[in-house]
Symmetry: C2
């Protein structure tokens, strides 16, 4: 079976064994088993632990070889020392995909144990392995969730169209938690750790082919095979947006990666060249990863770089203008038809240029007219729609009014809104209806710039 075909068993296995399944609350083997046992996973679940006959009420096997039925996927949580033995048993059992959560290999400098593990992998080539030293994978749609973080601490996100590859488990988990809290969808998540078998390039290739994944986001510290990564990245980035943040862009950060995942990170210059040549979208901060993913997964691509701001707060209009210019985009010049339409519904002193300032006492009607006009205006490629929900002249339904108008948009619209709970509720409504919202004008402009640059190549 080909590698890409085997990889499906990480995400849609019909049977899963947790090797190292545990009774001890708080232990990795406990949480992983519990997440499947209490979750909605519909396949068969096996616990492997030689010390117990039952673990969390589930029959436990001394070894995976004792399981009679086929096991498509195994998750290994045992101590590092016995991982090679246990993996060998998985090989004999013809398990197709194995996730090794356990840490204690190359990342701590244990090369003897690492070589032992490598030898097993070399023997069983038809078994694909993620890890060791990783959080494993998650595919919400099928309730496959290898994460050893309990749901009360890390809320799982809903199903979506962004998939995320992370060399770092902690970073990956924080993103999932963040997405869960904000009601953003994630399709597939993989924390791949030391990448002894399946590496970042394999995962990128797999998600590149994956029809459910519209946008790929990545955190990497280094690549295992530069040529392979380059070739695959170039292919995938043509097909869908690949957003990447690289840890260790500074020399000192680079050194720190060595002790983290045992990979040498390579120079910043090399990576910058790779991003440019492959079409990868380079995010410089975690915030940008979120921002870009949100924009690319929700909004249509831009056809030009002319941005229009609509606002009910003059100050934010000014900052959005600064942001558009500083990010290297252009101010749109709204058409006279647009200006005329808006002029009819605003007070005489309102300025209808760029920004279009609907003024502090703007009501729903003004926004309706302005947004419709700008959506139809051929001089405008994208809109930063500033909506300060706090003002009493806007109805409580302004989010729903905007959602309906924006449903058929053919250009990207970022709704920018700052504030507390009331604003957050309204933003959440828009997000649920796949409209990108931001809290600040500069990041909105920078995200549009990234989208414009990507769009030029597509």
């Amino acid at each position: 079976m080909k590698k890409l075909d085997l990889m499906q068993y990480f995400f849609t296995p019909k049977s899963i064994a947790v090797i190292g399944a545990s009774q001890d609350k708080g232990s990795v083997g406990f949480v992983v088993l519990e997440n499947f046992a209490k979750g909605k996973y519909k396949g068969k679940l096996y616990a492997v632990n030689p010390k117990h006959k039952k673990v969390q009420g589930i029959q436990s096997y001394a070894s995976i070889l004792d399981v009679q039925e086929e096991v498509e996927h195994a998750i290994i949580t045992v101590p590092a020392k016995i991982v090679p033995l246990v993996l060998e048993q998985c090989g004999k059992k013809k398990v197709k995909a194995v996730t090794i959560v356990s840490a204690g290999f190359a990342e701590i400098g244990d090369h003897v144990l690492t070589e032992k593990l490598q030898a097993v992998m070399n023997t069983y080539k038809n078994m694909k392995v993620i890890g060791p030293n990783c959080l494993g994978q998650m595919y919400i749609k099928e309730h496959v969730d290898a994460l050893f973080l309990p749901p009360y601490r890390l809320k799982r996100p809903k199903n979506g169209t962004v998939s995320f590859i992370s060399q770092s488990g902690a970073l990956g988990s924080a993103i999932l938690d963040w997405a869960g809290a904000r009601d953003y969808g994630i399709n597939k998540f993989i924390s791949y750790g030391n990448a002894m078998d399946i590496d970042e390039a394999d995962l990128l290739e797999y998600l590149g082919e994956d029809k459910e994944t519209k946008v790929i986001a990545m955190y990497i510290e280094g690549v295992r095979n530069g040529r392979k990564f380059f070739k695959i990245a170039k292919k995938v980035a043509k097909r869908k947006p690949v957003i990447l943040i690289k840890g260790g862009m500074s020399e000192e950060g680079n050194k720190a990666t060595l002790s983290h995942t045992g990979s040498l990170a390579g120079s910043a210059q090399v990576y910058k060249a790779v991003f440019k040549q492959t079409g990868i979208i380079h995010a410089k901060t975690m915030k940008q990863v979120f921002d870009f993913a949100k924009l690319f997964s929700n909004e249509p691509l831009m056809k030009g770089n002319r941005i229009q701001t609509i606002t009910n707060g003059g100050g934010y209009g000014v900052l959005a203008t600064d942001g558009i210019i500083q990010s290297g985009l252009q101010l749109a010049q709204p058409s006279s038809a647009t200006k005329k339409a808006i002029r009819k519904v605003v007070p005489s002193y309102a300025i209808i240029e760029n920004p279009i300032d609907l003024t502090g006492d703007a009501d729903d009607k003004r926004y309706e007219v302005a947004v419709k006009a700008c959506l139809a205006d051929k001089n405008i490629d994208a809109i930063i729609l500033i909506l300060l929900f706090q003002v009493p002249t806007l109805s409580k339904n302004i989010d729903k009014v905007m959602e309906k108008i924006l449903k058929t948009r053919k250009k990207p619209v970022i709704v920018m809104s700052a504030g507390g709970h009331y604003a957050a509720q309204h933003k959440k409504h828009l997000e649920r209806h796949n409209i990108a919202t931001f809290s600040s004008p500069f990041p909105a402009a920078h995200a549009l710039k990234a989208m414009y640059e990507y769009g030029k190549k597509h």
Copy 2:
């Protein structure tokens, strides 16, 4: 009476009149009166509206001149056209401080009305005026709240040590709302609009003298009197941190400010020079205003630029290292005593350099030992303390454990933590105990850099 003495009547008036008090829900005159009537303001409250005998159950006067008792402060919400008349009545009544919320003057190009208003101000020099075209002021401690935004839409923050001056009402209100939702304290807030009498420099001077204000944050688009501002800024910035974001740093944004508050913003070069020479801390985004205010109001100043990262997530440790280097700070070199102390409580493979990686299964004890050692270590000037609360090995009380250890800290500690609700709860506990928390490593490093630069001059 001197200007600075008169200004107290904006914040601690014993009596307030709302001129233009209204019965119409949603109108400015309604919300302003309601906020006082339903709020906890302890002084005397008067409604002025010639059309009604009672407004919201409060006796209403035809004019402020009909009020027998002294009125220290008046808030004007009537249409622009009658503002000069009403202000003149305030002058005759010897009101000490007036806030004109009403818009429709220089910002819409109405210079005739603006001149009329100016003439009244010139006549009554002992009456100080904020506005027109502003949100007015708020002082939570005395429940003085001129904001026409209803509390269900804009949650008021608790009392704190950061005061905020904003030329833009919308920006200011978003900050208040944001602070309210996150439980951050604000001391005094002033949205000053067109600044016809009291301008940004007067407010800066007042807050510079104000003992309750530890940190001053500002949003401005332009200054009315460059020399005056420069002189006052230089004086105040020596005494306490002044964090400023300027709208209209780009030429195009600058143009947009003209239509917003009727002020010419001036070139970016001039402003940059002013920031440098006065010691003002220049925030480039709204996010940085929040970040810097949080850090300066909670943390002791740094004595050097050597930053130590402690983490339970390798990836975030790498990014923090990148952030420290890219922001121009240095990596601390922990002393051998520090390393020795930590070595005793971590697994053999844990790397105790910079970052100190307590590894993914770190428990409360490891953090306790590491943080105590770093707080005592003379090689370390500040700490980025990465705490990923999601991992099951950390107890639910880790926030309280950290809070106790950090209580007596003499160097800044930023707790960096990403994620959703569970993480947010723990962060909130730390924030309530005046410990700065961030969601991302780069902003944490940049904020420390700003603090270091400020500290060098103090």
